[in-house]
């Protein structure tokens, strides 16, 4: 059985017939070819698959593709379509907020969710907001600095 969905992904309407069990992350990666969204676990712990759904950060492995029907989804590919990095991307670059880069797309969306509600978070607030996103390379310190820098417009 398949169901028809229409999802606005990175500003464009995408139509598809999908199995009801298909996760949003698999639809994005395997059907739309948007492989910037990563899969780092199978228990919704790592946050590598974080995207925004109608402006809210969600782990796209916790959401079925059919649940996104009629919604707006933004993936990492949608942040700098013309190659110009946004403030958070630029801050991660300036502050060495990434090493292998695998967790980075999810980190950026989790950080954006924080900045949407708190424009000048403390380091403690940043660390708390990112506790659902795992990074094995950076020890998080330069990620915290990146988010601070983005908040400060630096």
């Amino acid at each position: 059985m398949t169901l028809s969905i229409t999802v606005h992904v990175n500003g464009r309407a995408s139509h598809a017939d999908v199995e009801p069990r298909l996760l949003l992350v698999h639809w994005l990666r395997d059907h739309l070819g948007l492989t910037g969204t990563k899969i780092g676990c199978d228990t919704s712990q790592c946050g590598s698959c974080t995207v925004t759904l109608d402006g809210v950060a969600v782990k796209s492995c916790t959401c079925l593709a059919v649940q996104a029907d009629g919604c707006r989804v933004t993936t990492i590919e949608g942040l700098a379509p013309d190659g110009r990095l946004n403030t958070l991307q630029e801050a991660f670059w300036n502050k060495h907020g990434l090493q292998c880069g695998f967790c980075t797309p999810g980190m950026i969306f989790a950080a954006q969710a924080l900045l949407n509600t708190n424009s000048s978070p403390t380091p403690e607030q940043i660390r708390h907001a990112l506790e659902g996103n795992l990074c094995r390379c950076t020890g998080y310190q330069n990620i915290v600095r990146s988010v601070e820098a983005a908040a400060g417009g630096r």
């Binding site: 228990t43 795992l134 950076t138």
Partner: protein
């Protein structure tokens, strides 16, 4: 957007932004799982649910007829196609016994996760659906998971002809250790368990194999730290000649040692593609990753230290049972031996050491290198016992260390295990640490807090590590089945831009930037004019890979030597073009000029153009501006440092709060301090993870109880303090750039630093030992004097 570089500000030593980042920040880079080929099939692997069992029968009929399934293979199908998976570090003089390691088990499974069968289907969902339809009739066998217990008579046996599961017995000895203990005024002892860790690179392992029957060629995209070793091993196992085998490490999402070895899934994927003649992709789920990708540590250590009453260390003696898992992984035997036993004396003058290491098969996932690989286990033993000595004789742990440190040296120091350290200034690192941290003030704060019933602890550890692996002659002598040199090619294009091709394979460490900085510094070009290419065996020169903090130390040296060849050719060509004697050509800031006449010059870009068009070359000079260098290091490099942690323990709950962490590391001159600092951050946090949270746990039947990220606790952002990172700079005397290596430093130092801090906090409770990780329950039990600490 471009990173700022000018000739005036030296680019070597500048914390410029990474050239890797824009593609990673925009999701446009491609990791193995992101690549899809036309006609591609998907593989899903059926793995043993038992720690140890005999396979009676496999029935795959239902799976074979399931929707979308192309084929199901079992181990028997690989007979005559795949050889055994080899172990590539055959440590000599250790009676090494390699248990046969098949890509898929046929008669006996020996760990939870041992591969049994594979389904290949049109979609990944169909492949996993069909795996569930395969019926395997297992006869469970007794299992053993603890390496010491496995080595005792009567334990369940994993392999025939490996009595007591002992894969090898290796010893290292130097000096008269019996006399040291006979003459000792103080002996301190401990039993330390270096618990099993699961590396948890955020990208799991996977492979995409494309075999073309008409040509016999294989292209393999693989999550690896060392594509050239993959080609070598894969060729040996499959029989595909190396010239027809191309291995590509695309973007790789961290490794930490777990992407050194070749694991069952790699061979299974290649096998499926060989049999079906179509591209086949296999990507681990995280749960599969925890079972099938290699683990780290897993030592049981009995260790004792002999000293005088005034704290001078006379000798160290220990026995280690190192769990190998069910089979010997690629580099496994070298880790608890060469990379561990040779570093027993650390930064101290110790005249006598002896260690017995038993590598033991257990019904667990194979153990491999994990960040630090042998050196954290050695550092922990030594630094823990130095603290015990301090407690025993009532002298401050820092002072005990001072009384034993090797004095500063800048060009070689022989230690008791036979190594020659290259350079070190351990006092310098310690002094800087104590001054920055305010050690004396911290001790006062600690005393004041105790008056108020608060338990603050201060931990200090030093370390010296063996890195930059290493001279190939030594590699051969210690049984490593390969070389350890690196090569680099630098090729200038007519426009003055350059490509660099290296055989090592960075996967997050930033060498696309730091290696461009080396070229920029040596030849005066912009960092942005140098592209560093790695990770494809068809386009890069031979190299042995990225691990053991060796990429900058060895591959970087090869590149530096190649740039110097370019410089020499440029001098000769300049002399010809300017009609000046070659002795009169000087070089500065990217310009080759006639001495005393700086206006008579050629830039490196001029030379690149003239060499490439080759209109006017001197007699005998070849066209082009390109150089290749092979660098085989004359010795290892030995980075070092001193770390300090401050913790507070809540005795009512056993909860440990890490309140401060200070790291002083010395990796020689730093090419990019921002990247060095990032390496220290990540390394320190992984080591903290071992001390406080991480533990790969098996039950007695061999079930992995920590089989997902729900159960295995890697550090999260909200449980860590800001890490204060400082450095001293002691160049390596034998490296062309003086650099050492920093990838593993943080992990080597931090586990024992944090552990020592917690035990220091618990001093009023007379707690002298707790098993890691120091979870609240264990700490609470130790304080309460209960079992199970």
């Amino acid at each position: 957007m471009a990173a700022p570089t000018t000739a005036a500000a030296r680019v070597f030593g500048s914390g410029i932004r990474r050239r890797e980042d824009p593609r990673l920040l925009t999701g446009t880079s491609r990791y193995t799982a992101d690549i899809t080929l036309p006609g591609q099939l998907y593989a899903a692997i059926l793995r043993s649910p038992h720690g140890h069992a005999r396979i009676r029968k496999i029935n795959a009929a239902a799976a074979k007829s399931a929707p979308g399934v192309v084929e199901v293979f079992t181990g028997a199908d690989t007979d005559g196609v795949l050889q055994m998976i080899p172990c590539a570090w055959l440590v000599p003089n250790s009676d090494l016994k390699v248990g046969p390691f098949r890509a898929m088990a046929t008669d006996v499974v020996r760990y939870v996760g041992d591969a049994v069968a594979v389904v290949v289907a049109d979609t990944v969902e169909q492949a996993y659906d069909a795996v569930d339809l395969i019926q395997v009739d297992y006869a469970p066998l007794p299992a053993v998971v603890d390496p010491e217990r496995a080595s005792k008579p009567g334990a369940p046996q994993l392999h025939t002809d490996v009595p007591n599961n002992v894969a090898f017995h290796w010893t290292v000895a130097g000096g008269d250790v019996d006399a040291a203990f006979k003459n000792a005024e103080v002996i301190v002892r401990d039993r330390i368990v270096q618990q099993r860790l699961i590396p948890t690179a955020m990208e799991t392992r996977g492979a995409l194999a494309q075999y073309t029957p008409a040509t016999g060629e294989l292209t393999l995209w693989n999550t690896t730290q060392n594509p050239h070793i993959v080609r070598f091993i894969m060729s040996g196992v499959t029989g595909i000649p190396e010239d027809r085998l191309r291995v590509i490490a695309p973007e790789v999402g961290g490794g930490f040692g777990s992407k050194i070895p070749q694991i069952q899934g790699d061979f299974i994927t290649v096998f499926c593609s060989m049999k079906l003649g179509r591209p086949v992709k296999w990507i681990e789920s995280r749960t599969e990753n925890y079972q099938s990708t290699t683990h780290g540590r897993d030592h049981v250590q009995d260790v004792e230290l002999a000293a005088t009453k005034d704290g001078r260390i006379l000798g160290l003696r220990c026995t280690v049972w190192a769990g190998m898992g069910a089979y010997l992984s690629t580099a496994a035997p070298g880790i608890p031996t060469i990379l561990h036993g040779l570093m027993l004396s650390g930064p101290y003058n110790i005249a006598a050491v002896k260690e017995d290491v038993y590598g033991v098969y257990t019904n667990t996932t194979p153990v491999e290198a994990y960040r630090g690989a042998g050196r954290p286990e050695a550092t922990f033993m030594l630094e823990r016992l130095v603290n015990k000595l301090s407690d025993e004789i009532g002298v401050d742990p820092v002072e005990v260390r001072r009384r034993n440190l090797i004095p500063p040296f800048d060009n070689g120091h022989d230690v008791v295990t036979g190594l020659k350290y290259d350079s070190g200034n351990y006092q310098g690192a310690l002094d800087k640490l104590l001054a920055h941290a305010g050690y004396d003030a911290l001790r006062k704060e600690q005393a004041a807090a105790r008056e108020q019933g608060r338990y603050i602890g201060i931990g200090v550890s030093l370390y010296v590590e063996i890195c930059g692996l290493g001279p190939s002659q030594v590699a051969g002598a210690v049984g490593f089945q390969g070389g350890l040199w690196e090569s680099a090619i630098i090729r200038f294009h007519p426009s003055g831009k350059a490509h660099v091709f290296i055989g090592s394979s960075p996967h997050g460490q930033g060498e696309e930037t730091t290696f461009a900085q080396i070229v920029a510094d040596e030849l005066g070009v912009s960092v942005n004019d140098v592209k560093v290419v790695h990770g494809d065996t068809d386009s890069t020169p031979m190299g042995w890979g990225t691990y053991g903090s060796r990429t900058t130390a060895v591959s970087g040296a090869a590149l530096a030597m190649a740039t110097r060849k370019i410089k020499e050719k440029a001098r000769l060509l300049t002399s010809h073009l300017l009609e000046a004697a070659v002795e009169d050509i000087d070089y500065a800031n990217g310009k080759f000029f006639v001495k005393g006449f700086p206006d008579r010059h050629k830039t490196i870009q001029d030379i690149a153009l003239m060499a490439n068009v080759a209109w006017n070359m001197p007699d005998g000079m070849e066209a082009g501006l390109e150089a290749t260098s092979f660098y085989d290091p004359p010795n290892f490099v030995f980075p070092f440092g001193a770390h300090l942690a401050v913790v507070e323990v809540d005795p009512s709950t056993g909860h440990v709060t890490l309140t401060r962490y200070v790291a002083v590391d010395d990796c020689g001159p730093q090419i990019n301090p921002m990247i060095v600092e990032g390496q220290v951050h990540g390394g320190v946090v992984q080591g903290i993870g071992q001390a406080l949270w991480e533990h790969g746990i098996y039950d007695d039947s061999g079930q992995l109880l920590t089989g997902s990220l729900n159960d295995y606790a890697i550090p999260r952002a909200d449980v860590l303090p800001e890490i204060e990172v400082l450095h001293t700079v002691t160049p390596s005397p034998h490296h062309p750039l003086g650099v050492k290596g920093v990838g593993e430093a943080g992990t080597i130092a931090s586990t024992c630093t944090v552990y020592n801090a917690v035990l220091d906090a618990l001093e009023p409770f007379k707690v002298t030992s707790i098993r890691m990780p120091l979870t609240p329950e264990r700490v609470w039990r130790a304080i309460a004097g209960r079992e199970g600490a």
